[in-house]
Symmetry: D2
Subunit: 397 residues, 4 copies
Amino acid sequence: MNNMTISSTKEHESGHRKIEWARAHMPILANIKARFAREKPFKGRRIGICLHVEAKTGVWLDALTAGGAEVTITGSPGSTQDDVAEALNKHPSITVLGAKADSRETHDHHCRDVLRSKPDIIADNGADLLTLLATEPEFEALRTTIRGSTEETTTGAYRLRENNVNLDFATWVINDTQAKRIVENRYGVGSSVVDGVMRATNVMLHGKTVVVVGYGYCGSGVAQRFRGMGAHVIVVERDPMHRLEAHLEGFRTADLDDCLDQAQILVTVTGRDGALKFDAITRLRDGCILANAGHFSSEIEVDRLESAAISIKDCRDGVKEYQFDGGRRVFLLTDGNLVNLAAGDGNPIEIMDLGLALQSLSLEQMALLGRSVATGIHPVSLEIEREVCSLALHAWV
Amino acid sequence: MNNMTISSTKEHESGHRKIEWARAHMPILANIKARFAREKPFKGRRIGICLHVEAKTGVWLDALTAGGAEVTITGSPGSTQDDVAEALNKHPSITVLGAKADSRETHDHHCRDVLRSKPDIIADNGADLLTLLATEPEFEALRTTIRGSTEETTTGAYRLRENNVNLDFATWVINDTQAKRIVENRYGVGSSVVDGVMRATNVMLHGKTVVVVGYGYCGSGVAQRFRGMGAHVIVVERDPMHRLEAHLEGFRTADLDDCLDQAQILVTVTGRDGALKFDAITRLRDGCILANAGHFSSEIEVDRLESAAISIKDCRDGVKEYQFDGGRRVFLLTDGNLVNLAAGDGNPIEIMDLGLALQSLSLEQMALLGRSVATGIHPVSLEIEREVCSLALHAWV
Amino acid sequence: MNNMTISSTKEHESGHRKIEWARAHMPILANIKARFAREKPFKGRRIGICLHVEAKTGVWLDALTAGGAEVTITGSPGSTQDDVAEALNKHPSITVLGAKADSRETHDHHCRDVLRSKPDIIADNGADLLTLLATEPEFEALRTTIRGSTEETTTGAYRLRENNVNLDFATWVINDTQAKRIVENRYGVGSSVVDGVMRATNVMLHGKTVVVVGYGYCGSGVAQRFRGMGAHVIVVERDPMHRLEAHLEGFRTADLDDCLDQAQILVTVTGRDGALKFDAITRLRDGCILANAGHFSSEIEVDRLESAAISIKDCRDGVKEYQFDGGRRVFLLTDGNLVNLAAGDGNPIEIMDLGLALQSLSLEQMALLGRSVATGIHPVSLEIEREVCSLALHAWV
Amino acid sequence: MNNMTISSTKEHESGHRKIEWARAHMPILANIKARFAREKPFKGRRIGICLHVEAKTGVWLDALTAGGAEVTITGSPGSTQDDVAEALNKHPSITVLGAKADSRETHDHHCRDVLRSKPDIIADNGADLLTLLATEPEFEALRTTIRGSTEETTTGAYRLRENNVNLDFATWVINDTQAKRIVENRYGVGSSVVDGVMRATNVMLHGKTVVVVGYGYCGSGVAQRFRGMGAHVIVVERDPMHRLEAHLEGFRTADLDDCLDQAQILVTVTGRDGALKFDAITRLRDGCILANAGHFSSEIEVDRLESAAISIKDCRDGVKEYQFDGGRRVFLLTDGNLVNLAAGDGNPIEIMDLGLALQSLSLEQMALLGRSVATGIHPVSLEIEREVCSLALHAWV
């Protein structure tokens, strides 16, 4: 049996296989599903969801429907995995709307259709559903019946607050939990960035001088993992308290300007635009590999790099060489997009297992308690956070 | 510029691009090439080579020809990269014989053609050339003119000794150097195995219980790297001295039988057949991921696994699920073949830079000293080993 | 020159030598002193202090007086180093009250005398001075002239709040800074506990199973340092979020009951009474070494241990063996008192350099701004915290 | 029970207490003693020993006598612990000769008396006994009856070979085992040096720049332990292969001259005279702490330091400050003697447990096999080494 390629004859089979692989590594949701199946907390409830339609989401929907829910979900343009969508649509209690190729406009239609399904509970992503709900007259009646909602992202919560979206039910923000912040940012991002850089380049990390720009949750995780692979890490961080912490953790610290000529690999993970300006790029050690692991692809000034280079070459999948006057070269990974997503598979499955467990228990509270939960935008309750950590320990140890 | 795929119109351009990527990460050979170009140690010499024809080899041939050599090379069946071969054949001093699809028989013909090119020096792999040279009457004259040779592998050296191949010149065995053993086995294999497992599975390593079976050079590297990624490593090792060393390095140690039910990932790296017997596999923790990083694909009893499983499923590229009576499952990576090669890109480029530098300086000695070098099968001289380590430090720090 | 003992003829010379050793390792205060000497922020100001009179304090007083301050200080009963006190009393602007042998009552008198020196600014420890100031009619006038104060300990701040001590000036709590919490608790305590255990026992840490009970700032530091010395660490922690973090950092985690029979060394660092109950002690692995690094000596139930043991033996300085019915023994370090203080020299000098720098800059603000600083009990301002971290980086890197 | 001082009324009680503390941490010898007590391999045999008379030796003698041996032992001048000697002399089968204050001449007499006890087997240290045996006419008869011997040190073995000492029985060299080399040099020395530096100085290691000169077994252990305590380690090593290994292990490497101005702590561990020359000392960073952990106190040029300094001060026990013209200072620990021995308690007990287990099983072979063992100077057999490692694992895990 030498054949390692997957011979899928049908889309939904491929989607099913992906879901099964995810399921095998999502023991927290398995545990929750078993309880949901016994207790049926969502019996008679309809859940309207906007979240990436991919394999891990599928495992989650399975837990919700085991708990009695009817689900209507739409993904985001570009991120929907069509084979997974097809597989999920075979489930009698799940309706998936949308496809990978959807335009932003089509996505808007799907969001409206999710709301037209008259959900009792909402699980939102980027506030796409909640903004429509709050502003469109069509959904005026629905506003009074929704029991509560979750919002996956901090950005979505920010958008709701920014726009003064007042809804007369509770919205719990999943990403505003300490558990998710530590597990996803420090551990998940830390290892997936190392994974992404290794895949894209096949270079040895042992003994390499790696400059990590930014030492927050993500940055400290990235620095630790590169060190764990034998690299010599230099941390660049402007906040003196974080910088002192890096120093005491055994990392060399430096101002960016002072370590450019030593960097063999440089990773930005600051959450700021222009963390690595073009001018700095030109002073990097010849042959330096550049990657971005921060939230914005604008951390590295790629535009100026594109226009100023005297030559640009594709070297490998996800690796471009830029050469400057005088012969100096840098290798940019995945065009400055998040290297863990663009060159790898993103966060490990287990990270999503924890995040979707937070979703599940939050939605359960909405189902059980309804409008008796304090209205407004809040973090997930500490009890749920602790419960999910306990489940993670139970599953992972 | 969002396009990340490589749009190669011609084979040789693709090969050329691969060689250039490798070259950018082979500073030791760059240094040696510069000296060779000045000193021309191979002026008027022809080198006959049997070695994998891939990008790193191409960078090496470039250094040899810069030193004045004429080269004829054949790869091994299955490992020749045709685009690289095509690119190299454009070089006036390099002749590449063979293609990826070659049969063993065709390979034998190519080996004979390499010898028919009347080389002054030989660089062999697995003793393919040297065995022909020693045994075929056709090459009787050649035996008296060859100045010396290298042999890449320990296996090849073993084969020569086993068959009492007596040649009246020196053969230096590249892999029998301490430098290569440490750098390639401990650091190279250690990191490429972690890379391979992450690529194949996308599972989180933080907090995972990883059982590493075998704690030699390779095994200790594998154990350290998994720990470096946050895993909980248990070392299984039969030799009490190595096992004590693992214990004092902070690793839990156990007999294989006593940790089967804890393993979430198990990697064999013993160099022995049947390191993980079928009987042990059936007692593994449900969902355990199995990988082999030892020299033989027979470290894990895959055949018995194939025949005894009640179901076998392709989960992802390089991942197969085997289920047993009672429902327990294991996930086998890359059919039990070397996980760093089969699921990743093999050893990092820098490892090969060091190995091919040992080749280069050894061949240079043959060219300069000829038959005044002590005949017989020897390790590379300590002077060359030290020189290459110095060059590596110069290039990498 | 083989003589390694210190031949001090006079007390104050011994005190002076201790101060000089501390000074050599307190570069942050040296930097601040230089600025104070130029700017004289305390010119004409009197500072009343209650803080341990030992070498590091001496270096600090030197910086304050360089800034123009007149200082009256009393230590705490038991902690005053008489030789240091004598050396400091030679300084024209420093008055030290009290001696090591002082009773609690004598200490109270000294505190009153500090207040009678009519300080403009107060630096308190455990609220000894501030409580007297707020409650004794004698100091009614002083209450209206004091410009501001610092309080070293969180306990002192708690005492002030508990007793509703309202003073019409600001009190800044030094230990409530994130910088001190991280640097002192994680790094300072972590390493000094390892130091204390090694000194007290001379046992090898490599390969030892060390159970760390508690995984807060201190506990995580202790766990990391034992691992750094090659120990096998098991973390016991009740809070699931901290426990999950320990697990993902690569530590084994367990309930206390489940690892008692594996512990070769057990350290409590929880901040809770009775973290290790007598019943648990009797179930420890024979020969287990017990140490406490938490704030209370009551973390280990020493009283019950004393009364229940069938034999108690002094083994070494700071080590007692307790034997139970059936022959099982435990070795208790420093009678359950803080092992880093009782068996070692307490926190490294550099930790105190940072803490006293926070004191210095806080007192400077009081001197410069006086009552314009917001009244009440507050943490040190973030600006000062950042400034001290910057100074630390400048000094230490 | 606050009293932590040991109230010993009699010398032998103090010695007994030390032995008991050692015994509690020597499980390998406990195991061997139990078997010896059953099997009596030394029944009717007399063992003549020259080895440091201290607590751990006492535990070993106890195991030998349990096996039926009669023992006569002398220590070395200066290292004999008189209280331990007194305690051991109470044992009916043990005779201890000598005291701490002995001169070299007295020691020589004691060695002769050991031989006059007509031992069947010898355990030597530095070849003191064997040299007398081989050269003094008085012991001519004894030479023909001795069954075999051990020699603790590599230096002793060297002395025997140097002087062409030919004895017609086997001498097994304990320190020439791989097990002892790894366990004692890498782990034992590594941790005891860190222990010694912390005790002597009470400085923080986190974030300190520590230069480790020498990266052999001992040096690599020292480097790893300092890193384990949070220090920033720079490795100085002349051999390019070891230096490359350090680099790939994640350590910065440098030439000594290039890191003198960065060193906050510098440890020599090379085994060479003059590893740190006076000229280099004068260029160290102001306030650098100097320690030697190599075999010779002459690794640091202390003599020239003594004569060139403009001022020398005792700072603390074991710490001297040397100041040069211009004001620069260095702090030398324990006068350049081995810092782990002079400022600490030397190697942890467990290391000696392993070493004395090698002694025990070697002597047993001499007792059982006598002159059938191959004569000459040899390392301990691999079987014994493996057996001791197995016993260590059994005891320590």
